[in-house]
Subunit: 264 residues, 3 copies
């Protein structure tokens, strides 16, 4: 697994990352994709998503604000991505909160081959059939360690699984990597989960090693969040934090990453 | 009415605030909800909005970019909120500008019990049947003082009414509170009205005193807007202002509020 | 052509700029419209877009995330704008990337009289029937100089044409103006094309000279982008750049523009 080289690689390849995502953080997803070196496209009409996915190097599917029209387009886009062999990164936002989301997520797993699932523990737990107490789209508690959950979900779903948390875990079902970086303020702004999926997809669109891409994407967000916090002054609040986070993502490179990342 | 304690209370309770809102400021609404201590969720599919509203502690309905599908979902969500007894904060964006908006708003008032209406004077005036000259979604002139309008609308609509302006007014039909804080630059960025509704909803989701919550929410925005302006340097424009506003909202607490607020 | 006076004029007239635009940059479009002195409205329901366009002084049509419902509303809004005689600024985002976009764009040109087309070279080239290799919504290469393309497209489409690039070109089919300002970082954040269309529309809603409005709008973005870059410190990334860009747009006036712009 060579994460370090991916930072230069994504800037060189500028992979087109096709997103079918939510209306809340769609702008952040586009800007983060650009910040790391990728090229975002957000087409969602069912009439063009297959064509667009065929042009892309990676696809992000995010359930944040799905409705039926969006869901149908996600199936078409996902199947086109599968046909082309590009990675599909799935962010099961809010799965477990309502039957609608949980059912659509399970249905989706049966129709599209997912490469990487990225969620918080309760979402991933719900995805593999666990009973969760969620509160909307934010993380609830689950009766299993996050590390165990990452491995189990990766095995059961036959994907790479990325679980965000105080320590993040990335597993392909056999290996598991923990990421100790991060900052609690990452949970105080919306969209840091969604944009982590964009980072993973941008890296995965630049390499065949989607496990390395997942570790690189998740750790870029956690390390950038940690570095951004250190750059705050006394009277800075979450507006400034959000700006510094975007700065740090755009400034990240292999050297900064290697020096700052704490993998276990 | 104890507004001061609500700042600690919302952070402790982290109320889930379900929004059915517009695509323009949806990200700001989510971030402001987080900044004050609440937890935002933006689900809009008619198939899940009732379930999500049942999980929530408050509901925001914002007419900014409604279409028929959104409107139908708003009815379902609003009725679920009514059934659960959680507060419904209604932001009648642009009502008075087109017959479509005005008719839908009046129809909505007949189908869902609203707890708090928050708008500018022309929107609220249109809502109670006044003739207004609006310009899109921004404030037009009305032939009644804002204070009078707040009281009259509260009585006629049987809700708490919040009217944003140079002085903001909050009334429950008997009492009326004016808020002298604010800054003209709050009108130079989009979404400060929408996010005020999010603040009110977050507070209202943390207390039974929705009048106090409305005063706390409206005055938080006006005071934060005033404080943000004071933190600008000479060459700062509205980009920096917007960031400082978000900072000030996230830094607001009972002490800062008590020291800075000017109620009349 | 008097661009300089337009900065005061737009602030005085506060033209209502109706947008039917994409979900990615809709917030930026609203804030940029406000920053330059206009008043944005983003209504998209087919039931009200004609009424709203009738209230407006300019209309922006942006293809970023179109679907069939949005497309139908764009036709209704565009025809209402034509009837009232207000300028229609068309941003053919991603045209050339998928047959869906290209066909809809050509269909749209037959149904609505466009005043100004603003795009990158590959989009405009596709619009006039050229064969392009696009990568999603970002610029691809075309086998014609941008200056030539601006003139040719203006003649063929019978509109003013604005082509963004290292040097921007604005043509009405007989005259052509080049704008040498700009910065490569304008391509590292999403939405600087979309918001340029908002600037052009705000100016065009304040004058009958839509050619001057197009030069003023395009050059405001390029000059603001250049000035924003100069204000960055060593560790600033694209988050800070985006904020400074918004600052510079909001601070722009006739004097700053005249001193900084480099037209050829």
């Amino acid at each position: 697994m060579n994460c370090k080289d991916l930072f230069a690689r994504v800037k060189e390849m500028q992979p087109l990352v096709h997103h079918l995502t939510n209306n809340v953080t769609i702008n952040d997803c586009a800007n983060v994709t650009l910040a790391i070196g990728g090229s975002p496209v957000m087409a969602t009409s069912i009439e063009e998503v297959a064509d667009m996915a065929q042009l892309a190097q990676a696809l992000v599917i995010n359930f944040g604000t799905i409705d039926d029209a969006m869901y149908e387009a996600m199936i078409v886009a996902g199947q086109a991505a599968n046909q082309k062999g590009i990675p599909v990164v799935f962010d099961p936002v809010g799965v477990g909160a309502t039957p609608f989301r949980t059912n659509r997520a399970k249905d989706y797993l049966g129709k599209v081959k997912i490469s990487v699932v990225r969620g918080n523990a309760s979402e991933v737990f719900a995805l593999i059939g666990g009973e969760v107490q969620t509160r909307g789209v934010d993380a609830g508690d689950v009766a299993i360690s996050k590390k165990e959950l990452a491995v189990k979900a990766a095995q059961q779903l036959n994907t790479i699984t990325v679980i965000s948390g105080e320590v993040d875990y990335v597993s392909n079902g056999t290996e598991v990597v923990g990421i100790e970086n991060g900052d609690i303020w990452l949970t105080r702004i919306t969209g840091t989960g969604c944009t982590t999926a964009s980072l993973i997809a941008a890296f995965a669109g630049s390499t065949d090693d989607w496990f390395a891409a997942s570790v690189a994407g998740m750790s870029t967000m956690s390390l950038a969040g940690e570095r951004a916090k250190k750059r705050l002054s006394e009277n800075d609040g979450i507006g400034t934090y959000r700006l510094k986070l975007m700065d740090e993502i755009s400034l990240m490179n292999g050297d900064i990453w290697e020096e700052g990342v704490r993998l276990i």
